[in-house]
């Protein structure tokens, strides 16, 4: 147990959710583009497949809910760290229903559930960046101070720093973790600025991997017992330049994941799963 906080990237379980048909038309998006539902579903299936078979995670698949067009983006509904799961209160009101199913699933996994009941608090999981040593919470259109405070209360061991998200939907729309102490960051000015803030706020040193495209900076890092460093990242079709950057990571097992259709409704790779590490002990 000495490594209470060690093992960043160790995951055993993943919670995902199906894509409702309503996603194509009703899901929130920042740009008016048509989503090919079939393709989106395919992407999601591939995604789940990688998690389950290639990476060996125990995947909990929640059924889609047509009344919740964004329900596939489970990340926003919960933040899980260690054995504690914070059920969020998403910034968009009609997404708050998504948390119900998530709560149930996490309960089933025997996590300690913390619910965000404060009506003034909003928090999207997409604004929460856990680096292994601390949390950064983007203060965005979807997440406010109060939400961040509740998160800080839920995860007392860690420092929780706030980062203004001036552009983009979520904090993790332009950054994510690419490894222990490695932040993948977009090259846009807001992204770089946010990184600076994070670096300043942190007691820890982080390396950064700058990718040309902000959206490409969203990737999924795992450290799996049998696989070592694993990185799910964008495909060369979507972001050719950024993909090249990822390809330079020699120590990682690189798995390009297409996110084209989901990306049209502001979905990203991390958005589509909640990763959980259920240890044998405790």
């Amino acid at each position: 147990m000495a490594g209470l906080m060690a093992g960043f990237g160790h995951y055993t379980h993943a919670v995902v959710r199906g894509i409702p048909a309503s996603l194509a038309k009703e899901a929130l998006r920042s740009s008016q583009t048509e989503v090919d539902l079939a393709k989106a579903v395919k992407e999601q299936e591939a995604y789940v497949e990688v998690l389950r078979t290639r990476l060996g995670l125990e995947v909990v698949e929640l059924p889609a809910d047509e009344s919740l067009p964004d329900c596939v983006f489970v990340e926003d509904a919960a933040v899980v760290c260690g054995d504690t799961a914070l059920i969020t209160r998403p910034g968009v009101e009609n997404r708050r229903g998504e948390t119900e199913a998530m709560k149930g699933a996490l309960k089933d996994l025997n996590l300690n559930i913390v619910e965000m009941t404060d009506e003034n608090a909003t928090l999207d999981g997409g604004d929460v960046l856990f680096t292994g040593r601390e949390f950064f919470v983007g203060l965005s259109k979807r997440t406010n101070q109060r939400g961040a405070e509740i998160l800080a209360d839920a995860f007392k061991d860690y420092a929780v720093s706030t980062v203004p998200v001036l552009e983009g939907l979520h904090l993790k729309c332009f950054c994510s973790m690419g490894g222990p102490g490695l932040i993948v960051i977009g090259s846009s000015e807001p992204a770089q600025k946010a990184l600076k803030i994070m670096q300043q706020m942190s007691d820890h040193r982080y390396d950064k991997l700058t990718v040309p495209d902000d959206l490409a900076a969203n990737c999924i890092y795992m450290n799996l017992p049998s696989k070592g460093h694993v990185l799910l990242h964008c495909t060369a079709e979507e972001f050719p330049e950024s993909a090249k950057v990822f390809e330079k990571l020699k120590d990682h097992m690189l798995i390009p994941m297409s996110n084209l259709e989901r990306g049209k409704v502001d979905g990203s790779l991390t958005c589509c799963s909640v990763l959980i590490n259920k240890k044998a002990n405790i």
Binding site: Q145, E149, A152, K156, K196, M201
Partner: protein
């Protein structure tokens, strides 16, 4: 020993250790003269109260006695030196220290014992060697935890209530595994357990479980289902809200630890605990001041003003929390300066990637004490974790504010030291963590001590220290590279500090210490039996009487020869000066009192304090405000200056004695003192008007300020004493210490200088000549920028250059600077000040120093020329100077400290004189103008930094008759030149100087009429003196002293300073001088004429980016070793220019303080402080760089006015240069 070592509080632990040993060694040879100084339990067993047995069984008692014995002996040895002390009964206080295991350790200490004493005792008791991470806390009136200052007496820190303390971890090691001893980790664990249980260290359930399990393992050993009841854990505390579930989880984990040793369990505990985000974070409630949105990155659109936050001080820097969220973090390297003012706490932030300039962030704390507490914690943490060696308390000449510094070892030092620990791992029992039902009876003395081992260890420790010194450079981590040299310095400091103080400790010192403010405030009363103040104590009176006696006795000797009795003379002199200061204070006090109650007093006296003593190291708080803001003495402070109205006779007597003591002949003294006394008396009414004007601008203050003021005064008094009595060596060491990197530039603001924080490296020395060239260039550029103004200015300059006779001889040697001064002097005759000044100012743009000088001179002449200066006043000054001079001469070899001290002392008299002169002027009507000017200046002060101006003027001892302005000028010029000259050491000038002397003499007789003249000449002389080589200078001085030239005196002072500087090649002196200069500069600002001029100048310049003037300080060639920092602050009415430049470590940092706008009266000002650091070697044209920087700043903030430029200069000095 610690307790008694007032003088060497700075010496710190190492020394103390040594002393302890010494004490033991001496024990045999120095039996107790205890008769006089009783008190230690050993002698009076009955005094050893039941407390001993309280929590500790018999064994402990024995030990304690032993300890006491040691302390007793050592203290005895010291006591023997001070005869008077014996008279007093030393009070023994019982201290209860709550240890980390929850037990109380009771011991008896002398009432006067210092914090260090108690701390050492506790550490001894705990058998703790790595004690630098720990500290002792006490609760103040508000029940807030404060750290006991080891250098301060206990009784001064615990003002009320029982002497209850707690032993705590002060600095949480970021990596506990680097601690050397298990026992240290054990105590750290105990602390952390308490932190966790109390909720200070929040953690998740899982973490509680883990930490709890290790706690159980370390305390209870392996889980044993047979031995342990199922609820065996319930008596241990793991969390604030401990649940059965938690206990079960803990037990589960506990079962898995079989075979784990307690030490390992603790290590695991620490490894987990240290990762917690709040590990070692010391939280302070605060509110944001101002809308610093961009700095804090709060939610969008949120107004951060007044937001409740928490400031967390930790090893890496300062964390800012809002609720539980970290909203910002300032690592130590990011922080340029930490300061507090009243309730406010400020940090100045190094510009980041996105900001071009530094910014200052303010926080409002609940009260002043909280602000101070936070500030202290910050200073300590910064020093401990970031520096290689502690910084000496600020010894600056004109230091305002707290002298508090962290005096212990830094982490780097303590690591080195603890790596030398050679004892076998001490055995200790891990008895009790906090339990639900802890029965005290069980825990006797949990920790076994082996006293012998301890002693040995301490010796080893000392060794380690020495070794550490040698190691420093090599061991230093890269990050601290820049500080390496500092470390060196620090060590050197330590060395000096460790040298035993030879001189006899004078009883006076102690006394003064006890009743500082009383002394300060009412010297007259005590000595002359004036209306007695309630505050003044018998001690004080006694002291004064003694002083008087001394002085009287010294009179004749002084006359006879400078050489003999210098020590005595010096002491007397100092005492006299002190008293004079006190007088001044009281006079001021009166003024204020008569005026509006709330009117602020000039806090100037704090400036005058000879702040020599590191001993004091009081963090005497000073509400010393920013230059612009609070210049006034808080109301409460007034209460400490009880003298209502000094009557004529007392004044007279006082002055008379003073003069006598200062080596005046009796008749002379008589003649002089009477008018002086008159003046003083006259001052009272005067004060009223002054106060009235000042009062308006004065702001709020809280009661806490009172204390601060008090303490400050204490310092003052104490300092004076010290100077008088302390040994030279001691002073020397202190001096060294004096210029630390942490220093405060203004008011109470304490700066943690970039020198520490930034990693600027030292650059090769620049040549003086070159510098000058640069300056001139700069000037030129400036001139070019502003067409209209420039032209006249230039012409003026040139004219003056050519015309001034004085200059001509010197011109070759000191081309740029001197000419200016001379010019100024010549200008004096010219009635049209404004005009003159204007051009000068323009020029000044080019060359700040010159500028200052010019303006000052110009002003001075104006006032002084027309009006006869009261000779008496002048004479007074002379006296002061004289004494100083003599001393200086004799002691040149001595420590710079002394010199600086003297300077300081003089300063205060100067202020007084000023007042006197004012009074005189009023009286006689002749000098009305003077008075007016002063008043105006005061008024001005209100609006701007009026008060500062005034007080600064005060600080400089000059010919008061000719006004403050003159004085400052002289200083400035001297300083400037001194620097330049110092490097060059021009012998030829000596002759010139002589000439000046003669002239002065001639002038002397006509005195009054010639006052202005004299001043002129004096000034002229000054430069010359500066240039003179040290020895020659000395001679000259001697002669001067004999001649008793009042006018000359002022300059002599300067000279002496300079001399000292040159001799010892100590920058510190220069620094002091510089400081003087700066203050003097400010003085002019306060005055009417100046502001006007400046204003004019500004617009003219405004076209150009620069309203700022750049001062380039000449470089000095100094032997390396000590680095000292000089700060020149230039403050004009509107424009402050301070330039800091490095000599040895050749980087220049220019601080440009852009002040939004000062609201008159209201004092509310928006201040943005920008900092430009120019690092580089001699090749860099600093002036140009600065000009450029300012220009850029201007472009960025068009409406900004540059109020101040600070040139920070670091020079390295040879430690023992001053030897004769």
């Amino acid at each position: 020993m610690t307790t008694e070592s007032g003088a060497d509080s700075e010496a710190k632990q190492p020394q103390e250790n040594k002393e302890t040993e010494k004490g033991k060694a001496k024990a045999a040879s120095q039996p107790s003269q205890v008769a006089a100084e009783p008190a230690l339990p050993q002698n009076q067993p009955e005094q050893l109260p039941a407390a001993v047995g309280h929590s500790t069984p018999a064994r402990k008692e024995q030990e304690q006695q032993e300890e006491d014995l040691v302390s007793h002996r050592s203290s005895t040895s010291r006591l023997s030196r001070s005869p008077l002390r014996g008279v007093k009964k030393v009070k023994i206080m019982q201290c209860k220290v709550t240890l980390l295991d929850g037990l109380d350790f009771t011991l008896n200490v002398e009432k006067r014992a210092k914090g260090q004493f108690l701390f050492d005792k506790v550490c001894d008791h705990l058998n703790l060697l790595e004690k630098d991470y720990f500290g002792i806390t006490y609760r103040d009136v508000e029940n807030q935890k404060n750290w006991l200052d080891p250098a301060k007496e206990l009784k001064k820190q615990i003002r009320t209530g029982p002497w209850n303390f707690a032993f705590n971890v002060k600095f949480y090691p970021p990596d506990p595994s680097q601690l050397t001893e298990d026992i240290t980790r054990y105590y750290l664990c105990l602390q952390l357990r308490d932190d966790v249980v109390s909720g200070r260290l929040p953690c998740s359930f899982a973490t509680h479980t883990v930490l709890g399990s290790y706690t159980a393992q370390s305390e209870l050993g392996d889980y044993d289902s047979e031995e342990l009841a199922s609820d065996y854990l319930s008596e241990l505390r793991f969390a604030p809200n401990q649940t059965k579930e938690l206990e079960e989880k803990v037990m589960e984990l506990h079962k898995t630890y079989k075979g784990m040793s307690p030490a390992d369990a603790e290590m695991h505990f620490l490894e987990n605990a240290k990762k917690l985000s709040m590990y070692g974070v010391d939280l302070h409630h605060a509110k944001l001041v101002g809308n610093l949105y961009e700095c804090l990155a709060p939610a969008e659109g949120e107004d951060s003003e007044g937001v409740e936050i928490m400031l967390g001080v930790c090893a890496s820097g300062l964390l800012i929390y809002r609720d539980r969220l970290r909203i910002n973090r300032f690592a130590w390297p990011k922080i340029l300066k930490i300061s507090y003012k009243r309730n406010n706490f400020y940090i100045k932030i190094r510009p980041g990637e996105f900001e071009q300039f530094e910014s200052t962030i303010g926080f409002k704390l609940p009260n002043h004490r909280a602000a101070k507490r936070l500030w202290k914690v910050c200073v300590e943490h910064h020093t401990f974790f970031r520096l290689v060696s502690p910084e000496a308390p600020p010894k600056k000449f004109l230091t305002l504010g707290s002298k508090f510094r962290y005096s212990g070892r830094t982490q780097a030092q303590t690591r080195r030291a603890s790596s030398q620990i050679i004892r076998p791992a001490p055995f200790f029992e891990r008895t009790s963590s906090k339990r639900y039902n802890m029965s005290r009876s069980l825990d006797g003395a949990p920790i076994m001590e082996n006293h012998e081992t301890l002693m040995k260890d301490s010796a080893a420790d000392g060794e380690a220290k020495v070794i550490a010194k040698g190691d420093i450079i090599t061991t230093v981590t890269t990050e601290k590279k820049a500080e390496e040299e500092k470390a060196e310095e620090g060590d050197a400091k330590k060395d000096t500090a460790e040298t035993p103080e030879p001189a006899a400790t004078s009883p006076l010192r102690q006394d003064t210490k006890c009743t500082p403010h009383a002394f300060t405030s009412d010297p007259l009363r005590s000595e002359l039996s004036l209306p007695s103040s309630p505050i003044s104590s018998t001690k004080v009176r006694r002291r004064h009487r003694e002083n008087a006696r001394k002085r009287a006795s010294s009179v004749s000797p002084v006359k006879s020869g400078t050489g003999c009795r210098r020590r005595q003379a010096r002491a007397d002199h100092k005492a006299a000066l002190l008293e004079e200061q006190a007088l001044l204070l009281s006079a001021r006090k009166q003024r204020l009192e008569q005026g509006k109650r709330r009117g602020g007093t000039l806090f100037s006296f704090s400036l005058h304090l000879p702040d020599l003593s590191s001993i004091l190291d009081e963090d005497g708080y000073i509400t010393f405000p920013d230059l612009s803001e609070m210049r006034f003495l808080p109301e409460c402070a007034q209460n400490f200056l009880p003298i209502k109205s000094p009557s004529l006779i007392p004044c007279f007597l006082f002055i008379f004695f003073f003069l006598l003591s200062t080596s005046f002949s009796v008749p002379y003294a008589l003649t002089l003192s009477f008018p002086l006394a008159l003046c003083l008396c006259y001052l009272e009414p005067k004060a009223a008007s002054l106060t009235a004007s000042l009062a308006q601008s004065y702001h709020d203050h809280d009661s806490s300020e009172e204390e601060e003021t008090d303490s400050e005064q204490t310092d003052f008094a104490f300092d004076g004493e010290m100077t008088a009595t302390e040994s030279e060596a001691d002073e020397d060491s202190e001096m060294r210490t004096q210029y630390s990197f942490i220093r405060r530039v203004k008011g109470e603001n304490v700066f943690i200088r970039h020198s520490n924080l930034m990693l600027e490296d030292t650059e090769p020395p620049a040549e003086v000549v070159k510098h000058q060239t640069n300056i001139s260039e700069l000037k030129r550029s400036f001139l070019e920028t502003d067409g209209s103004v420039t032209m006249p200015g230039l012409t003026e300059w040139e004219k003056r250059l050519s015309s001034s006779p004085m200059r001509s001889p010197r011109s070759d040697e000191a081309p740029m600077i001197e000419p200016l001064e001379l010019d100024t002097k010549e200008d004096e005759p010219a009635a049209d000040e404004t005009k003159e000044v204007e051009p000068k100012i323009t020029e000044a743009a080019g060359y700040l120093v010159k500028y200052v000088v010019d303006s000052m001179t110009a002003d001075g002449p104006t006032s002084s020329g027309p009006h006869g200066v009261s000779l008496s006043t002048t004479m007074d000054d002379d006296v002061f100077v004289d004494g100083t001079l003599r001393e200086v001469e004799e002691k040149t070899p001595e420590s710079q400290d002394e010199v600086s001290e003297r300077l300081v002392v003089k300063v205060s008299p100067g202020a007084m004189r000023q007042e006197v002169s004012q009074a005189i002027s009023d009286k006689k009507g002749t000098l009305i103008i003077l008075k007016d000017v002063e008043d105006k200046s005061d008024t001005e002060g209100k609006e701007k930094s009026a008060v500062p101006g005034e007080f600064k003027a005060d600080e400089h001892v000059m010919l008061m008759a000719s006004k403050e302005e003159e004085i400052p000028r002289a200083d400035t010029s001297v300083v400037t030149e001194a620097q330049t000259t110092a490097a060059k050491m021009l012998s030829p000038k000596v002759e010139i100087k002589t000439d000046g002397m003669t002239q002065i003499k001639g002038i002397d007789s006509p005195k009054k009429a010639m006052a202005s003249w004299i001043s002129e000449k004096v000034k002229t002389q000054t430069p010359e003196f500066i240039s003179v080589s040290t020895k020659e200078v000395k001679d000259m001085k001697t002669s001067d002293g004999l001649q008793e030239r009042a006018e000359i005196f002022t300059f002599k002072e300067v000279q002496s300073e300079q001399i000292t500087v040159s001799e010892s090649s100590t920058t510190s002196l220069v620094v002091s001088t510089l400081e003087c200069v700066s203050s003097s500069q400010k003085a002019p600002a306060g005055q009417e004429e100046k502001p006007v001029i400046e204003t004019e100048a500004l617009p003219a310049k405004s076209a150009g980016p620069t309203s700022t003037d750049i001062t380039a300080v000449a470089t000095k060639d100094m032997p390396v070793i000590h680095t000292e920092t000089k700060t020149i602050t230039y403050e004009a009415a509107e424009v402050h220019v301070t330039t800091m430049c490095d000599c040895r470590s050749y980087w220049m940092a220019f601080y440009v303080f852009s002040v939004g706008q000062t609201v008159k009266g209201g004092i509310s000002e928006t201040r943005i402080e920008k900092r430009i650091v120019i690092t580089g070697d001699a090749d860099i044209d600093h002036d140009e760089a600065l000009a450029q920087a300012i220009k850029e700043a201007k472009e960025q903030h068009p409406d900004m006015s540059v109020t101040k430029v600070v040139v920070h200069k670091e020079t390295e000095i040879t430690p023992e240069e001053g030897e004769d």
